[in-house]
């Protein structure tokens, strides 16, 4: 499968959703969308599934400190700093699972 990446982590709502919609509208067969997001877009999930897409969310944990946080006192504590959201067609589930193994997605 081929990857299409969009970074919406510095966009204010509703721009991330606009970017995701535009990318999905153009997504070709055997391609998947990787969205770099600052938060988990929970309300999107059930709608994606209803529209024939599947998703997998991979939190990126920063063990040192939160680069987005104002304070330095959180150093040493792990905090999720980014989410990588993989969106693919439900009909391509088997291909994505193979890819997920390769990418070691948890």
């Amino acid at each position: 499968m081929q990857e299409v990446v969009i970074d919406v982590s510095e966009l204010a709502p509703p721009e991330p959703m606009t970017a995701i919609l535009m990318a999905l509208a153009k997504l070709k067969a055997q391609h998947y969308l990787k969205v770099l997001h600052r938060r988990e877009p929970f309300p999107l999930y059930p709608k994606l599934v209803a529209a024939g897409w599947n998703y997998h969310c991979q939190p990126v944990v920063n063990d040192d400190s939160d680069k987005n946080s104002l304070d330095n006192s959180s150093k040493g504590e792990s905090e999720i700093t980014q989410f990588q959201l993989y969106i693919y067609r439900q009909t391509e589930q088997a291909s994505f699972e193979l890819l997920a193994e390769k990418l070691a997605l948890t």
Partner: protein
């Protein structure tokens, strides 16, 4: 794929929160009617029945009404959790909230036992159903780890505060109904006097409303303004400090502490919070002019001034405020702090919710994207600016009328204009949403 066994809830239909939002201006008009009916005499004392009605018109009919509607949407956004049977819970709690708040206001003005009883039953149903649903929705957050755990903890604390506020309010209202007459042992244990009314008010302002604003700000400020996260110690411990102060306040009847010391501590804590808000907002990445940011700054700076003035008055007894401190400080807290933040958030979430619901429909048919209006078509920048200006004028006129009650007509007029304009903006948003939604439906069929 492993999704950690979690099932995520979609946003509830947009008409559910909008019902709550659209009801708020109606209570503002109810408040204007009270202002015009009672005139100057209303401002003589905070214990004047019409003043109690006015205060509840703002705190229950406007602020709590909007907060309940907003909570329906916040939980799915923050953690992917939702009220169970959200349509039914929202409908029941909204209907009884409107009836209960209106009858409570009337019960202050016309203390007939039937009106009092009606308000008790309606509000018990409204809050019973809503708080029950909220606790049900929050229950999984006790067992599972959520990424937004700090916010959920503060929402839990705010809900507990709301429960205590409502229980105290109902006990006070039952006393007015005369339930305790003849039970001297009970009334001796529970002195239903001004002391408990003060606790009810402080828990409502700093607990329910104050804590919920803090919880929501942890999410919406970084999200909407691409600002840094709040510092972790603030997210983790700050709301707990306020909660501890409020628990101490609740227990203060057993100690010799005066209420004013609790108020001082709570004001200092709130001031610290708004300083953090200012700092976070100053470091936002999107430094575009944004009216919601201006509302946050107005509320934050007002809170700092309010605290400063409170201490100046404590030490130097300001002549202008003599005998009017309670009204002045609570009026400033409600209008300059709570209402400013609430209105700022409304201006942001009304178009955002409408747009998001429409966008999600486009997932089923990408062609529908052509019908999506621009975000600023829902509420234009100019309209938002006008509303901010009207809000500032109304807020200033409230403080002036507290000091000079003869000017009550000015406050009544400005309050009417502000909320009529807000109501118009809301109706416009709903109308654009409906028209676009119909176009998408036609395309689908």
């Amino acid at each position: 794929m492993n999704l950690s066994g979690l099932s995520f809830n979609a946003l509830p239909p947009v008409h559910l929160p909008f019902r709550f939002f659209l009801s708020a201006p109606i209570f503002a008009f109810f408040c204007v009617t009270i202002l015009l009916t009672y005139g100057e005499s209303l401002w003589l004392s905070r214990w004047h029945p019409a003043m109690l009605a006015l205060t509840h018109g703002f705190t229950l009919g406007i602020i709590t009404m909007v907060m309940m509607g907003a909570l329906l949407q916040i939980l799915p956004v923050v953690a992917g959790i939702s009220f169970p049977k959200v349509e039914r819970i929202a409908t029941i709690s909204h209907v009884f909230m409107v009836i209960g708040s209106a009858s409570l206001l009337l019960s202050f003005l016309f203390p007939h036992s039937l009106i009092i009883l009606f308000s008790i039953i309606s509000l018990t149903l409204a809050f019973g159903v809503f708080i029950g649903g909220l606790f049900w929705a929050l229950a999984p957050t006790l067992k599972q780890t959520f990424n937004q755990g700090d916010t959920l903890v503060v929402i839990r604390l705010a809900t507990i505060a709301l429960l205590v506020v409502i229980l105290l309010g109902l006990l006070l209202q039952l006393n007015r109904f005369g339930l305790y007459a003849g039970f001297s042992s009970l009334t001796a244990w529970l002195p239903f006097d001004k002391f408990y009314t003060n606790i009810h008010a402080l828990l409502g302002g700093f607990g329910w409303m104050g804590l919920l604003i803090i919880a929501v700000s942890f999410q919406v400020i970084p999200m909407f303004h691409v600002a840094p996260s709040f510092p972790q110690p603030v997210r983790k411990y700050f709301a707990k400090l306020i909660a501890i102060s409020l628990i101490a306040l609740l227990c203060s009847s057993f100690f010799e502490f005066e209420l004013k010391w609790f108020i001082a501590v709570l004001l200092v804590l709130q001031s610290f919070y708004v300083l953090v808000v200012i700092n976070v907002l100053r470091k936002r990445k999107r430094k575009v002019p944004d009216i919601t940011v201006r509302y946050w700054f107005l509320a934050s700076v007002s809170m700092l001034f309010l605290t400063l003035l409170y201490f100046i008055d404590e030490f130097f007894s300001l002549k202008a405020l003599q005998g009017k401190q309670d009204l002045f400080f609570s009026g400033a807290f409600i209008y300059f702090y709570l209402l400013s933040i609430l209105q700022g958030l409304l201006i942001k979430i009304l178009p955002f919710l409408s747009y998001t619901h429409l966008q999600q429909r486009c997932l089923m048919n990408f062609e529908a994207m052509q019908y999506l209006p621009h975000m600023h078509q829902f509420i234009s920048k100019q309209q938002a600016n006008v509303l901010w200006f009207l809000h500032l004028l109304a807020a200033c006129s409230l403080l002036i009328v507290i000091l000079q009650p003869g000017l009550y007509l000015a406050f009544s007029a400005l309050l009417t204009i502000e909320f009529a304009y807000l109501f118009w903006i809301m109706v416009q948003t709903v109308s654009i949403y409906k028209k676009t939604s119909e176009k998408i439906t036609q395309l689908d069929s």
